[in-house]
Amino acid sequence: MEQRECFTDEEEINLYLDGELGEDRKSRLKAHLLTCRTCSSWYEIAHGLKSALRRSRENTSAPPWLREKILNAIRKEEPVKAGFFWETVKSLFSGRPAIPIGIAAMLIVILASALFYGRPRTGNMPFIRGLVHEHYEYMEVAADLGIESKDPLEISQWVFAHAGMNVQLPLASDSLVPEGACVIQESKETIGYVYFSNSDRKISLFMLEDKYDGLFGQKTMKFENISMYCGHCTGMNYVLWKNDDVVCVLVGDLPESSLIGLAKGFI
């Protein structure tokens, strides 16, 4: 039969185990452990597990190739980028003056709907790659493209228009967010939103990102029958979503293995 005063309520013993118990409670518990067989057995078991876990902290070295890869990446002048994204940029802007490779690709998410592809789809969803947007290099790329405006909104509109996409962007200057849009990230200086138009099944994503204070931002949202994940990974924004009739779009400058891994999760 259990005694009322027993510490089989694990909290006390756990706190003691972690050295987070105040002096008074600690001495009370220690005294109790000397007399109570149940609790001292339990303590022994809990303590043994924690020690076993601690011992399992293998100090295995990271594989040498991993260290090398990281060192190489940070020693280069340019940020790490996936080659195929840059090819997409070039193909979309063919005819334009050549854009130096040294500038990080500009990415704007372009989401295509089933209509865009001209046929309904179910089940297997291919993914298309969009352009990668890195706000820090935004202005440089704009200049190279011959865009005079410094306004990210206008720049994006320009890019959308030249990519042949009919995307509705807000024109009102007092609000960056169109009606019906879902704000996914907002801070003092930045706002990111997703705009859905369910009638013609078009979806657009527009992100303005400034200096990123927190290192992470992630939100999962549902809009009607569409699930959407927005996240940040290695400094690039990406969006994945899944819906029976909507193409899954991946954007972002991710290592290829991550990209494939992400895509696989959605197909």
């Binding site: 756990n14 149940t38 601690r54 070295s61 991993l66 990281i70 940070i74 994940y229 990974c233 290592p255």
Partner: protein, 198 residues
């Protein structure tokens, strides 16, 4: 140009020295080597990218852990497409725990905890950890394996300290349950010499 070179040097000196520890924790969190390698790579590259935000002299290891843990959280959250269903696990666990804590565990004189722990291999630990849901597993890796305090874990994961504690304690309970099963399956609970004993 000089600033860039300095940044790289500083990074190698302050951050890259933690590569092995980060890798070790990543393998425990993800449970598989390939994913760990991927996670570590992303972590370090991201850390380098944001290295200007890091204050020299402060705890770089904790900062790197914060990046890695959050990248990992992002990853497994992404895989969830459904809202969290109500889990009856908790209720079941409670009763199992109470039962284990009294009759079976303690009264079972053959449950030689010391012997069991001594025979627990690293792979066994990894397997036991994989049985935990990710947000519990993270707590065990950070607190019990890596030795961060509750407060440090709260900062790393962005989770309230109260939640850190409750998740950690529940995780330990689940591990004990898993360990009990492991012990039973490997013959540590039957009378006589356990299987595999020297």
């Amino acid at each position: 140009m000089k600033a860039a070179a300095q940044k790289k040097e500083r990074f190698e000196k302050e951050a890259l020295i933690h590569l092995d520890v980060i890798f070790s924790a990543a393998s425990k969190m993800t449970g598989n080597r390939m994913e760990a390698e991927d996670l570590v790579q992303e972590t370090l590259l991201r850390a380098f990218k944001f290295f200007d935000k890091f204050e020299t002299g402060t705890n770089c290891k904790a900062w790197l852990f914060k990046i890695m843990t959050n990248l990992y959280i992002n990853r497994y959250n992404r895989q969830k497409s459904l809202p969290k269903a109500i889990s009856y696990d908790e209720v079941e666990d409670y009763y199992l725990y109470r039962r284990l804590n009294t009759a079976d565990y303690i009264a079972n004189s053959d449950y030689n905890a010391g012997w069991i722990y001594a025979n627990l291999l690293d792979d066994d630990v990894r397997n036991l950890l994989q049985e935990l849901p990710e947000d519990f597993r993270i707590m065990v890796v950070l607190c019990d394996i890596q030795g961060f305090s509750y407060e440090e874990v709260a900062r790393i994961t962005g989770v309230k300290m109260g939640t850190v504690k409750s998740r950690l304690f529940r995780a330990r309970r689940k591990l004990q349950k898993g360990l009990y099963e492991w012990a039973r399956m490997n013959g540590y609970l039957s009378k006589g010499i356990p299987h595999g004993a020297a």
